[in-house]
Amino acid sequence: MKSLVMRSLLTLHWPRGRASLGRASLSGLLALIVLALAPQLASATKIESIRTPAGIEVWLVRDPTVPLIAINFGFRGGSAQEPQDKGGAINMMGSLLDEGAGEVDAKTFQERLERGAIELSFTAGRDTFRGSLRTLKENQDEAFELLRLAMNEPRFAPDAVERIRAQIVSRLQRQSTSPNEIATKTWWETAFPGHPYGRPSNGTVESIAKVTAADMRALLKRVLTRDTLKIGVVGDIDAATAARLIDRAFGTLPAKGDLTPIPDVTMQGIGKRIVIDLDVPQTVVQFGGLGIKRSDPDFMAAYLMDHVLGGGAFSSRLYREVREKRGLAYGVSDQLLWLYHAAVHVGGTATRNDATKDTIEVIESEVAQMAKDGPNADELEKAKTYLKGSFALGLDTSTKISNQLVSMQLDNLGIDYIDRRSALIDAVTLDDTKRMAKRLLNGGMLLTVVGRPQGVTSK
């Protein structure tokens, strides 16, 4: 709640925002099949798959404990769908959907959201466009009506477009001198030159300047369509009501989208190190290399291997060597990222300028060691128990569950994934992880380094 904001800075023991197996946690279901979320959740939470009268599939978890409803939804098509010179257009579009729609002007729209304590937001990724809605049960009709208006009849009124444009430009300008942002942007540009994945998904000051209302209307029509829509609904709502409200909000969206085919691509730049000078006391290092598609049969083996290398909080090799033993950094981690047309592993750390050389050497040495020998049996066993045990932690709020229901559908994990999940983890052998370590890490990494590091140069 905005109220009771804690006084001042809260410092944390570990950095937040580590990778979790969230996106790989739940499974797919077909109509009318009811399964437990996971074996250990047997009596707690059930997913139902329902099909609405308009033919929209919805995954529903009914839970009357708290009088609220959380909805998450996703469409296929993100920033990779933007015209090349209009980078950031879909993110900008998402920022404008609640700025007036139909007969409702921006101010009234916002007032209606607040009056109903309705939370509505949209997020553009590289491959997907997602939204979330949270409402008190008593305001469910108003919430879905506002959602319908936002997606079906957004105004893109000139004053709102310019206001949002100014906000995005301001943020991009602020990011332009942030070492983290520079390191990330440079890493993706170098890994995917000439590919949509190489462009910053929120655009640039120049590209945002070019985005018009017509561009955003065109993207809306191409992307927000029923053929790729995935929905998760959680909370105090029955199946019939969910079907009625979903049809109200989504039933009039176009049936078919118009997505530009995106070519599959392998990351480039492995072996390169790019140093960018910035006058800051602490150098930011982003590193990464090849990853693995979510659909690859070896995905779980790679995931476990990467967890040993740089996942979790306390347990990883990078953590132990970089932070615990040498005190070189506050945070260091690595994670797998899987897109629809490429896959990478990426990690990062930040260290004082005069320790950057040592830090990079330690990280590269650990990655090389992992590539050579893979995890050991004890590490693999612990990674397995971690992944199995942490499953339920991502499912303890309605918002988290609805988010997972959609990720799981977008990842196309299959109807029986829940039943198979633990077995999939257990089936991974030490040799599998060694094979994955070689496949992903053997060639080395691409590094971007931003700061005033001593003794570190581009190569």
Binding site: M6, T11, Q110, R115, Q167, A350, L393
Partner: protein, 455 residues
């Protein structure tokens, strides 16, 4: 639209907000229990049976404001060192065990409290309690673990503050807002003092403050009060009191009589901004009803797209990219209410500041409308319902309240007290507390030459 753009507060101020809430309609309220053990440990149990997960938190009533002058950063440094092991559970065993069972953990330090938590499947609760009770008094520190951890903390300071112009300004503004109270110190510490912290400093601080009678155990999740009581008595109950802890009487602020300004120039600033902190009462230091009025006031003034500041400065006058306000009510002593704004190109910081002052003056003079009051209260009360969906949020709310001098009843009565706020009280709060003489205004600029001299 992204929340962050409309409100644009947190990043600039380096404030980590924790969404907290109150109790709700009786039928939705969790059945919160509260009891104390013989050794003085307070226990709060927040049942949530939807998922077989438990959140186990131990909070100590000690934070950066309880440090001795010259030793800033010590509360936070000790928090880091608490992960270094005990005689019974040597280095790393606790964390390794939590990780091996798929649990999550972290710890945090504020000005008023320090907390440690784990989230795991419910069946591991007893083990968590055994580990946490053990490290309440059993910490073992050697130089070879203390030294690298000090470097880690210095890197954390680099990351959070030194590398971040907005955070550097916030630090300077806090120091200027408090003339006498230790809230003037950064929680992470001043760098030259962090560098000199030692193992002995950490152990002395530990022995002074880490004792069951200075701690609060909060367990939220798939548990009952009865089982938590049994487990707590079998684990924490066996820890003897280490010491009596003195009442937390910190040096208080004198009458503040002069508006202050602070300018932070950093070549990396591409987007100048202005912000102001007002010294205001906290939930603990306020008179009855005053904090709730400040809560409503800050919401109407600067929370979201319907707020006075956003509507006037961003939409109507179109001179700002973002504008907002917030109240940090959860504190033992007087806290702050802040307003902030980022100008559009073509608007100077002085012009934006004048416009912010005009918005504030309008509220002081004419108060808020009945409609604004209703919307603000609806929104704030609904947040309490939403909080019920998140056991971690509820646990943090109780923890923060109880470690800043509040009570269980204060948490549970929050919704009713908020609903009782009148338009008159909101205007009175604005009139009384939005007084520039009790404030510091900060400018974040690329080059200090660019700050216009005010007439």
């Amino acid at each position: 639209m992204p929340h962050s753009l409309k409100h644009a507060l947190a990043a600039a101020l380096a404030v980590m907000t924790v969404t907290l809430a109150a109790t709700f309609h009786a039928d939705a309220a969790p059945n919160v229990s509260h009891f104390s053990l013989a050794n003085g440990l307070d226990v709060v149990v927040i049942p949530d049976h939807r998922t077989p997960v438990v959140t186990h938190m131990l909070w100590y009533r000690v934070g950066a404001a309880d440090e001795t002058a010259g030793k800033t950063g010590l509360a936070h440094f000790l928090e880091h060192l608490m992960f270094k092991g005990t005689e019974k559970n040597p280095q790393g065993l606790f964390s390794q065990t939590v990780s091996n069972i798929g649990g999550q953990e972290n710890a945090f330090t504020s000005s008023d409290y320090t907390g440690y938590f784990q989230r795991t499947a419910r069946e591991h609760l007893k083990m968590l309690m055994e580990f946490e009770a053990d490290r309440m008094t059993g910490l073992v520190l050697t130089e070879d673990v203390v030294k690298p951890e000090l470097q880690v903390v210095l890197e954390e300071q680099n990351m959070r503050v030194a590398n971040n112009p907005g955070a550097r300004l916030s630090e300077q503004m806090e120091a200027a807002l408090y003339l006498n109270h230790p809230y003037q110190r950064p929680i992470i510490g001043w760098r030259q003092e962090i560098e000199k912290l030692t193992r002995d400093d950490a152990l002395a601080f530990y022995k002074r403050f880490y004792t069951p009678n200075n701690a609060i155990l909060i367990v939220a999740g798939d548990v009952t009060a009865e089982e938590v009581k049994t487990l707590a008595e079998a684990t924490y109950g066996k820890v003897a009191r280490v010491t009596e802890v003195a009442p937390r009487h910190r040096p208080q602020e004198p009458a503040q009589i002069a508006a202050r300004t602070v300018t932070l120039a950093d070549a990396r600033v591409t987007q100048p901004s202005v912000q102001r902190y007002y010294l205001v009462p906290s939930y603990t230091s306020a008179k009855p009803g005053e904090s709730e009025a400040l809560e409503v006031l800050s919401h109407i003034l600067g929370h979201g797209a319907n707020s006075r500041m956003y509507d006037t400065l961003v939409v109507e006058k179109s001179i700002a990219v973002s504008a907002g306000a917030g109240y940090s009510g959860s504190a033992l002593d007087d806290t702050r209410l802040f307003v902030s704004g980022t100008p559009k190109p073509g608007t100077t910081l002085a012009q934006l500041e004048d416009a912010i002052d005009a918005v504030i003056a309008e509220v002081i003079q004419n108060g808020v409308t009945a409609d604004e009051l209703t919307r603000a209260k609806t929104r704030l009360v609904a947040d309490a319902v939403y909080a019920n969906d998140n056991q971690g949020t509820l646990a943090r709310w109780y923890g923060a309240t109880l470690t800043t001098g509040g009570s269980i009843e204060q948490v549970q009565g929050w919704t009713d007290r908020l609903k009782a706020v009148t338009a008159e009280q909101v205007r009175d709060a604005a009139k009384r507390w939005l007084d520039k003489r009790r404030s510091v205004t900060g400018y974040l600029v690329k080059d200090s030459q660019t700050v216009e001299r005010r007439p």
